[in-house]
């Protein structure tokens, strides 16, 4: 299949496959960060990516979103080959993401952060912006209302006019998710959304992830906390040294000897 990257692939919106990776490899010089990984994500599921530190999870995210160029292999999103597309094009097609280290626009209000997510769907041209045409005004109003709605959805509407950098950590995580949702994605990539959160915040975040899924958005999740992953995921893919070592339902993965070995070492 990888031999014909532009050919018709078996995944199309109709058969419920949202994202399909085919033998994707990413090398940095001599280091193979992602090694020949293939998997499929079905519409509406929460698909988790786990593995020890340095297993290549974030590299895989960066490859899917176009931040890195794949060394080989193809990535197909909703029936369209997106291998090698620029990040903003990938985002425009409907893949949104958050970052492991939160990357908000620090000196912009929470509301404006979300509005940036809506940028690519806005139609105001340079002319409209310069002269504040009725069309631009109307669009601004719509975008503002939509952004407020998203702030409510993630539960931080009282922070609308605060600078992103002044928000508490947990709220920043939520804001990042809201900004990702503003791009109107079909697939949301979350890179350790619960990192650094206390147990209660983790529960709330996972409840938020469930609600996002409830909106019909498919979720690809990287998470270290096994309790969280096992509780929320429909399927799990385990990476180790860039290689796929297991895939399946949480229960299957939990008892897989290779997974236990990867996490605890051989002698254990």
């Amino acid at each position: 299949m990888s031999a014909a990257p532009t050919g018709k692939t078996p995944s199309s919106p109709a058969d419920g496959i949202v994202l399909q990776l085919d033998q994707v490899t990413k090398r940095f010089g001599g280091l193979t960060a992602v090694d020949n990984v293939s998997f499929q994500i079905r519409r509406g599921e929460i698909f988790a990516l786990i593995g020890p530190n340095g297993a290549g999870k974030t590299t895989l995210f960066n490859t899917v979103t176009g931040m890195y160029k794949t060394t080989s292999g193809t990535i197909v999103f909703q029936g369209k080959d997106i291998t090698g597309l620029k990040p903003y094009r990938v985002a425009g097609l409907g893949i949104a993401r958050t970052f492991q280290q939160i990357r908000l626009f620090s000196y912009m209000s929470a509301l404006d952060n979300i509005k940036v997510g809506e940028h690519h769907r806005m139609r105001a041209r340079l002319w409209d912006s310069l002269f504040k045409t009725p069309r631009a005004r109307r669009e601004e109003r719509e975008v503002e209302a939509k952004a407020m709605e998203l702030l409510k959805f993630v539960g931080i509407e009282d922070q609308a006019y605060n600078y992103a950098r002044n928000l508490p950590y947990g709220h920043q995580r939520r804001l990042e998710i809201a900004r990702a949702l503003a791009t109107n994605p079909s697939l949301l990539l979350l890179d350790e959304p619960a990192a650094g959160a206390n147990p209660q915040e983790k529960r709330q975040l996972m409840e938020l992830v469930e609600r996002v899924r409830g909106q019909g958005i498919t979720i690809l999740l990287i998470e270290h906390d096994m309790k969280v992953v096992m509780g929320i995921s429909d399927r799990i893919l385990v990476l180790d040294y860039g290689e796929r070592i297991a895939e399946g339902k949480p229960q299957e993965v939990r008892t897989n000897p290779r997974v236990i070995e990867a996490y605890l070492g051989k002698s254990a």
Binding site: L104, F105, S106, Y107, V116, G117, H120, A124, Y161
Partner: protein, 408 residues
């Protein structure tokens, strides 16, 4: 926070109100102060307005989009030369053998367009660079344009296009088919209608340039403010804050930076056309590196990212550099005479005389003033909310936070 933003807006409104009142009263005030000889100062104010336009333009590039442009004067030159070449006898000497006298009002827009095109030509290959590298490339561009303009004079292999080191003189002034005269052209001016009005008409000069400049500045403020609060302004800020996150949020970062460059350049083209018209002369000397630096200083010192702050910065720096420092040697000489130290004014031995000595120290004095302002107010005089927070609280807050985290 809403309160803070309200305070911020009301401060900007106060600055704008004072600027408008100042601009309206300035001509009469100058006439009164100088006893009817205010024309020189009114003309100077119109030139200061050119720098206000330039500062507003550079602010979109540096303040909004966060791209350091060290060659901004090049776009200013392009605007001025575009007007100069097509509104004077210059091109008669060129291989075209034909002189053009296209009206100022048309050339104002052509200047904008040509400068924007050059902004795109420079930006397209270079905006993939970040930070320091971009600064170096723009610095080079700022050096190339005046050099090229000097070279394309008499004797160049492709003909005399720019007048070379002599520049272009006798550039057409703006003209209007009809104009209403009245007290706005000086208190004693009677009401009346002048046909085929020329901006160098002694009846109205230099107040006509002054009012024209005021109108242009108002237009530019409105346009720049609209942009700042639009989809594009937001994308500029997003790119400034975090380019990777902006791209992941669906912003075409290269295109949006190119827009910033082109818009910034077009303000300079606008200012350049006016400058050529009022001075009726363009010469490459007026667009050297020091001009780029001066405009950048206006932006940084006034308050990067905040349009009224940048305007105040432009006016203050212009006054300091072209009024105070230029006249300082004369002022000190008269002061010395007045207090009876005439001996200081004569040169003897190693002493070159007070006048020349002060002239030598001009840039030193300017430098000391700049350093003093930046030490006392690193965020600029009237900064945007962003810079204010960044420089007043930024690092301290984080340090405290980290310490607490260590303790628990």
């Amino acid at each position: 926070m809403r309160w803070a933003s309200g305070w911020f807006q009301s401060r900007n409104r106060t600055i704008y109100t004072l600027l408008i009142i100042g601009a309206l009263l300035y001509p009469s005030l100058m006439d009164i102060v100088t006893g009817g000889e205010g024309n020189h100062w009114i003309g100077t104010a119109a030139f200061a307005g050119v720098f206000v336009l330039l500062a507003i333009g550079l602010n979109t590039v540096v303040g909004f989009a966060g791209l350091l442009d060290l060659g901004y004067a090049a776009f200013f030159a392009i605007g001025a030369y575009t007007y100069g070449m097509f509104a004077s006898g210059q091109l008669l000497a060129s291989p075209l053998h034909h002189e053009f006298h296209i009206p100022f009002w048309v050339m104002l827009l052509v200047g904008v367009f040509v400068a924007a095109c050059f902004g795109i030509i420079l930006g397209a290959p270079t905006l993939r660079l970040r930070g320091d590298y971009l600064a170096i490339v723009t610095l080079g561009f700022g050096e190339i344009v005046p050099r090229l303009v000097q070279y394309l004079g008499a004797g160049s292999p492709i003909g005399n296009w720019t007048g070379g080191v002599n520049g272009i003189a006798a550039i057409d002034p703006p003209k209007l088919p009809i104009i209403l005269t009245g007290p706005w052209f000086g208190l004693g001016t009677p009401f009346g209608v002048v046909k085929n009005f020329d901006f160098f008409n002694p009846l109205a000069y230099p107040l006509d340039f002054y009012w024209l400049m005021a109108i242009l500045i108002v237009v530019c403020i409105v346009l720049a403010t609209n942009l700042q609060n639009s989809r594009i302004g937001r994308a500029w800020m997003a790119v400034r804050e975090d380019e990777v996150a902006a791209a992941a949020s669906g912003v075409n970062t290269v295109a949006i930076k190119l827009t910033a460059f082109a818009i910034g350049a077009s303000f300079a083209g606008f200012a350049g056309a006016f400058y050529g018209a009022q001075l009726s002369l363009v010469s490459s000397d007026n667009f050297e590196f020091i001009v780029s630096v001066t405009i950048l200083i206006m932006v940084v010192l006034g308050g990067m990212g905040n349009i009224p702050g940048v305007i105040v910065g432009a006016l203050l720096i212009y006054t300091t550099q072209y009024v105070v420092l230029t006249n300082l040697p004369d002022w000190t000489t008269s002061l010395a005479t007045a207090v009876g130290l005439t001996g200081l004014n004569q040169a003897h031995g190693d002493w070159v005389g007070l006048h020349d000595e002060v002239q030598r120290l001009n840039y030193l004095i300017f430098g000391v003033i700049l350093v003093a302002v930046m030490v006392l107010r690193p965020q600029g005089l009237f900064p945007s909310r962003v810079r204010e927070q960044e420089l007043e609280k930024g690092t301290e807050e984080q340090a405290v936070f980290d310490l607490r985290a260590e303790e628990t």
